[in-house]
Symmetry: C2
């Protein structure tokens, strides 16, 4: 119990990605939202992953995850092929264009949480079918902090199910375009307000190369992205942003009742967590897959974090 | 002499604008870079305007400018029609599309500075033909701070003349796309470095709805735009940004030797000036022409400035 009470339980995709960007092309590299999320979060706190892979997924990678405080006991290996995403980015590198999605083993994924995982207090529901998000949430006995991500595919495809999930969510981390789509608004300020009414008291809007906006019920905080000289591949930027954000919050081990007992401190923690998210995302985009994160040193992370804070200090 | 030594001398266009945006359409409203610039700057410091208008330009507007510390003795009225710009913005409202430009009296504009104006210490060369910028600069005996703006039209049309101007400029305020064009770079970090080598030690890159980046030789500061719920017309945002920026710097009356005597203080002043620019631009876009600026109260300006600073404070 002690183990998971200070860790994050997360569910999402493990995948192979084939990606083309103006910087190059890679075929069947490791990817998936939960990979980016958990590697990023593991810089700050232990993570427990719930997910599914096929027989083609390398055991060595699961071992690597396990070697760095990332619990893989919740990752089922089932007959069949791992989820495979094929996408490309144009010169602007703003939005991914999905060329093909082979759900494979993900199609019949029905997450069953272990007894230990059911006791988790912090939960991150990665960008998957909102029905699966709810099913995971249903199994956790008394979560104290629930965050989630989503995307246009679910917003348009399963809006009611997503809204059901959102009712039980504290923090939503979502792209700008998707926030507008979800809220049916044309401006981000109105969008955040509408989404807050759906459930999440904290709405974090990711703006790609322009950073992120943090809406709480009290305040708006705007963080710029750390400017990266050479963006290789934006894939996973949002997932690693969320990983660092949640890792930072959980690592501080203080969120559990802060939002009620010391709201000012909680707000400050959220702002710092958003900056951590921006910094982590800036490393992710420097290479394909999560190669950059896999070799990232804590000292580099801290140095860039300090640098970004300096860039926004008057 | 006292008058101009604490004021900004600026040259640029006074115009009629006909504009269509998703919020509406206006025909032949007052516009021109120097109008936006000087009204914005006048919240902080006196301004002296050098420009030209035709016989159709309303005397009442010149009187209104004069009523608020904006010297209009340098505005020539000549036979013919005032400069007229016709443009439109699409749904994104990022970039203006020029539909027609009638230079009219501006075509033969040859600015002749008065004796008093020649003694100016602070100079802002608005977005006009770089040859005219140089001609104005040549007439000022010993400027201590020279800033300028430019645009794609001059960058591609008169690159050598623009580079001649830039050699003598301390601060360049320019759009992101134009910074890339001028520097022939694909990334903003590289662009700023290249532009600094052209002359300006301070490069300010305007990013529209995402704010601005301030590059000095020591540091990068990133300021977000103040989020405006309903953008009516982006015209003049960049000019009023520059006006508030320069007004703030000049109003502080301290820049004259700060950059050498107290570089830390100078850098701090620049960062605050950029925030002032972002705030002013946010008011400008709330209505067509400079209608919003004409009725803007100091108290509103200060309140929003405080609010934006809060939005970026950790």
């Amino acid at each position: 119990m002690v183990q998971t009470s200070h860790s994050i339980l997360t569910v999402g995709s493990l995948a192979f990605d084939s990606i083309q960007t103006p910087s190059g092309k890679v075929d069947s590299v490791l990817g998936g939202s939960v990979n980016y999320f958990s590697i990023a979060a593991s810089f700050y706190t232990p993570v427990e992953v719930v997910g599914v892979v096929g027989q083609d997924f390398p055991e060595a990678h699961l071992e690597w995850l396990a070697s760095r405080k990332i619990g893989v006991s919740g990752i089922q290996r089932v007959p069949g092929k791992t989820f495979h995403w094929v996408g490309s980015y144009d010169h602007q590198m703003c939005e991914a264009k999905t060329l093909s999605t082979a759900l494979n083993v993900f199609e019949h994924f029905d997450p069953q949480l272990s007894e230990v995982h059911r006791q988790s207090s912090t939960l991150f529901l990665g960008n998957i079918d909102p029905e699966l998000q709810t099913r995971v949430l249903d199994q956790v006995s008394s979560p104290t902090l629930v965050a989630c991500d989503s995307m246009n595919f679910w917003i348009t495809g399963k809006p009611d199910q997503l809204k059901n999930t959102l009712k039980r969510v504290d923090i939503l981390s979502i792209n700008q375009a998707e926030a507008l789509l979800l809220s049916e608004q044309t401006h981000i300020l109105a969008a955040a307000e509408v989404i807050q009414k759906m459930g999440p008291s904290v709405v974090i809007i990711k703006r790609g190369e322009y950073g992120a906006m943090l809406f709480t019920r009290k305040r708006l905080f705007i963080a710029p992205a750390y400017p990266v000289a050479h963006v290789v591949d934006p894939t996973g930027a949002g997932d690693s942003f969320a990983g660092a954000l949640m890792g930072f919050l959980t690592g501080a081990q203080a969120h559990r009742d802060l939002s009620e007992s010391n709201p000012e401190k909680w707000e400050e923690l959220l702002r710092k967590a958003v900056v951590s998210g921006c910094v982590m995302a800036s490393f992710t985009v420097e290479d394909f897959s999560f190669r950059r994160l896999m070799k990232l040193q804590i000292s580099e992370l801290m140095a860039r974090q300090k640098e970004l804070i300096r860039m926004i200090s008057l």
